[in-house]
Symmetry: C2
Amino acid sequence: MSQSTIQQSSVRNGLLAALALADWAHLEPHLEAVELPFDQTVHAAGGPVDAVFFIETGMVSVLVTLEDGAQVESGIAGPEGLLGLALVFGDSHSLTDARVQLEGTALRIGAAAFQAAMDRSPALRALLLRYALAFLGQVTQGGACNARHPIENRLARWLLTAHDRAGADEFPMTHEFMAMMLGVNRPGVSIAAGLLSRAGLIRYVRGRMTITDRPGLEAATCECYHTVRHEYARLLGPRSAAPAASAG
Amino acid sequence: MSQSTIQQSSVRNGLLAALALADWAHLEPHLEAVELPFDQTVHAAGGPVDAVFFIETGMVSVLVTLEDGAQVESGIAGPEGLLGLALVFGDSHSLTDARVQLEGTALRIGAAAFQAAMDRSPALRALLLRYALAFLGQVTQGGACNARHPIENRLARWLLTAHDRAGADEFPMTHEFMAMMLGVNRPGVSIAAGLLSRAGLIRYVRGRMTITDRPGLEAATCECYHTVRHEYARLLGPRSAAPAASAG
DNA sequence: GTTCGTACGTTCGAAATCGAACAAATACTT
DNA sequence: AAGTATTTGTTCGATTTCGAACGTACGAAC
């Protein structure tokens, strides 16, 4: 456990910031600041989920691994949310990998302490269930998007989602990687990214992506981005829908 | 409210059947038997969710409606589950339509009574959260499946999922309709269904689908069917993973 | 028995995407 | 400065899927 007290006012995680003081008090003694280094697997599919991570900075992808080895992104979590959703549902296993895509930091709480806090604090439970529902909305809309929308729209959507969580207009990101997330082949992303770049919406050089025209990107995405964003805002408040964009 | 008492032993819904008597007692006075006629919209996207429906027979699709009017299935519920998942999360709105695909019956409970029962019964809440997690698993795996797997495998998967909930080897189902569920065009389904039919796995005549070789279909599907089924079984017990197949 | 609506089979050209490959450019290493 | 690994741009043919169309079969209604 952490030796020193964490001040709620200094917490950058949207869920924790939304708690009343009494509910925060249930969690705080058990929270431990941890690093989320790039590419770390926070929890693995099939394995146990032994802690919840409230993300403070960075971005983590939730991934389904298919039989052929392909990993497809089903959702993204950032400073608006948490990892270890299975524990919110009272389970201790996950169908998905969680892998750090943009390095950052988190506050970690072990499964037992987390369950105890959930049991004692109805407000905490209610808040985290709303987050779970928002995440379900993200996965639901994303699934339909995968089935029907062309690569260019989906790429714009993914970039906006990443931008919301990156905390900056520029962040490291390769075509190869985005192709895997979207479940498409790499040249497909290169072509789509080329279109967005020629339209002046983004720039990229060797694994560094820069969002140069966010309103333009929002016009280039399918409605799925806006649908998910509105759902996050409705359930968790505007701050949690787009932590980076509204702060910066 | 219903005038007469419903015996738990006669209930065909997997969730209700799994409840201890004390938890059942919280719900029973408020349950009302209702019909689920074909094509009925149980609740609509954006609209309020004013009741939970524990399905007894039949099958209901949970659908995302896209801007272009296309409706893509994100999940299916049958006698193993319920509709109105938003209420389990403490919310009262839904991102999705729920539409009856195979007619049946359900036990309905209004939102207020349902919330009260959830508040009073931790066991009920725990059970329904496990169902919510299983449903999230279905949506998650389905989204990845949409992104990567060819139509034929996805059709086999969908037929197996329907078979599990239909309670019979034969059920009404058109190509047109399956195409919409899978988010693909109709000839794509006709071709895929033709392959499955020539392989002797299914038969169909004018909107009547018959599963003739279930093990064969299970070999023709992608792993996504098995993954989801195992997750349902793990979280809810074997009965809920395949209510029809294990009963018949 | 005829008519009509729906479901299905099939075709066709167009478009999107795939999968593999290779060249060019950039960063890192030595 | 040279060598190496990685990232990106690009090509190309193959495959899948799309979207529209048309003909046929089945079943219900008159």
